[in-house]
Symmetry: C2
Subunit: 351 residues, 2 copies
DNA sequence: TCTAGCACTCACGTTCCTCAAGTGCTAAAT
DNA sequence: ATTTAGCACTTGAGGAACGTGAGTGCTAGA
């Protein structure tokens, strides 16, 4: 049952008013906002209909109306104007991203921070490998008599290194031998496969050499792990406090704790459908309990061929969807353009 | 003017009660807490004295007393018991730090998080080079026909690398030549000196080679910069909300914003005297406005010979100093023991 | 020097009331 | 059949009045 045009106008006015004021909207206000040339009584009737159809809610018998999740859903799907960004804003974004191409993490962190400032909501970011990662190449590099640097280059061209100290000494040819073994037996393997290959190798290799190889392979496994892991980061959580729905600490605390407990074992809040480039979850559509009264708008971007990131905005269900989606999609597009296919990774990595 | 023993006992009782309850303390409560065998009236007299001497304050005529900053100061300097850590806590700390020895940043991040959990206050961390940093050694490592990895090892044994792509091709001997130039002309120099040396080199080197050298040196300068920078990070800001003094958003917001605006240009909140290993700043003793009603307890730890870090706890002036100092100093000591002199860098070396 | 007692002060919680905003319904008008 | 005007009703917010209790300062006596 499609809504009449007038109902849509009314719903839209209510959503937009409530988004900005966070106060229930009454029939009089709607009449003024829509500019409809009908009396408030008529509007009340329409509002009663909308309530019955589940698009609006009443906090209590005699307050104005508030959009229900279904109302927001309809709004973002059909009613909302795509907002234009101002020139300053695009500049701001570009600056944040351009800035001499630092390492991946930092760029994304910075992106999160700026997006949060532009949207007045907290922002989270996440990045993870799409598929299986492998080591493309090992290099060993003598630095002192009793130490060498192991350089590991992954599939997606991330390069990491580690200084390895030995008890004995090692000659250059011996090192080359190790390097040859590593490159022939451990490239192109996933973590589990590497572990298996290492087991097999143990029996038919001299213990001394095996020990060194094991050290390097363990390091490589760590690298793959850290790349494969989803890194969850947040920025601008304090923006939450600016919105009246989080004035009460009981509301704010769980969500803030959830968001700020970054890094360590955060149960991932979201999974974006591979097809979509942008997704909106409104209130109860979120699985996680901490997000039940919260909306999440998120977009994905690609990092090289083999990784994908998600950047998202978190706010009250009455968040300003039009504003947020505009900024978010611009960000995600810029990030993809920046990290996209050709240049598969931030070239510098470190440790 | 030294305080009488009884006055000290009273002050101490008031501070400790107020620390746990966050409620003004009345004469009756003091009488019970101290176990002094005098009437409440006597205690009232003593409290009046203490108020006059500036160690206590009254929120309003007829509430109990609250410690003034001077009161806290006296408490931390003379009255406070050094708390013992429980076995579980030390284990917790050790686990957090041990955990297979990841890179420096992560260890410190994790340390901050655990310390925050143990103390129920937000924690900040900072690390910076003590003196001038230089590059100890360059290595160039061919990876493909048209790309090589530049490995830079600093003074304090931090190793970073970057993949450098070229337009043309390069032979192994040519690469060795570049490496020789870098190691002879750019090691042991500070950032500024490297920039100068690069200028001088330009005139007497072939343009192609010079361009590659410039890329590597620029990278090296970036590395030194990033090491020299003070990295300000925080953990557990939401703990603030658990304390009644930050119930009102007007109080909580500025401080939280200040703390959570990590990374980017945070005006550094603190500078620890080089001599001291632990320092306590109470309320107005803080220079920064956002910290005026806030106390900071911080301790320093050493990272190798050339870097020093600060880890600190932020909370209301009535923070539980005894508890915090105990945990903090244990952390700082452990960190120093871990990163201290001998093994100067995050890379762990295996025996 | 300490104590007991007393009058005084304030913040806080409760209750009660009013007020304004907004509603639903009905009856008349278009 | 819709729309409008009018009206009675509901409800939360805000404010005044009030009692309560914790805590104080002061004074007089031990």
């Amino acid at each position: 049952m499609a809504l009449s045009d007038r109902k849509k106008r009314i719903l839209r006015a209510i959503v937009e008013s409530y988004i900005t004021t966070a106060e229930p909207v009454g029939s009089k206000a709607v009449s003024e906002l829509t500019g409809l040339d009908v009396s408030t009584a008529t509007i009340r009737n329409e509002m009663a209909d909308l309530t019955e159809q589940g698009y609006l809610e009443q906090p209590h018998t005699s307050a104005g109306r508030v959009p229900s999740p279904a109302g927001y859903r309809l709004y973002v799907n059909e009613l909302m104007d795509r907002q234009q960004l101002t020139l300053q804003e695009t500049q701001r974004i570009n600056e944040a991203l351009d800035l001499k191409m630092e390492e991946l993490d930092r760029v994304i962190d910075r992106a999160g921070r700026v997006l949060s400032q532009l949207s007045d909501y907290p922002v989270f970011t996440m990045a993870a490998a799409k598929e299986r990662l492998t080591v493309k190449r090992f290099d060993l590099l003598m630095v002192e008599d009793d130490a060498f640097i192991a350089v590991v280059m992954t599939d997606n061209s991330i390069v990491k290194n580690k200084l390895i100290r030995m008890s004995g000494q090692l000659s250059e040819p011996q090192l080359q031998m190790l390097s040859a073994v590593l490159n022939s037996s451990f490239t192109g393997l996933s973590r589990e496969e590497m572990a298996q290959a290492l087991d097999k190798l143990e029996t038919r290799t001299a213990p001394g050499a095996f020990q060194l190889i094991a050290l390097v392979v363990e390091f490589a496994i760590e690298v793959l792990e850290s790349q494969g892991q989803q890194k969850f980061r947040t920025a601008g959580i304090t923006h939450l406090l600016e919105h009246p729905e989080y004035r009460s600490l009981d509301k704010a605390k769980p969500l803030m704790a959830y968001l700020s407990d970054e890094g360590e074992g955060t149960p991932l809040p979201v999974a974006l459908d591979p097809g979509k480039s942008m997704d909106i979850l409104i209130g109860p559509e979120n699985v996680n309990d901490a997000l039940k009264d919260t909306s999440v708008v998120m977009a994905s971007y690609d990092i090289g061929d083999n990784m994908r990131g998600v950047i998202g905005v978190v706010g009250p269900t009455r968040m300003d969807y039009a504003k947020v989606t505009a900024r978010l999609s611009y960000f995600a597009d810029s990030l993809t353009r920046m990290f996209g296919k050709e240049l598969p990774s931030p070239e510098d990595s470190e440790e």
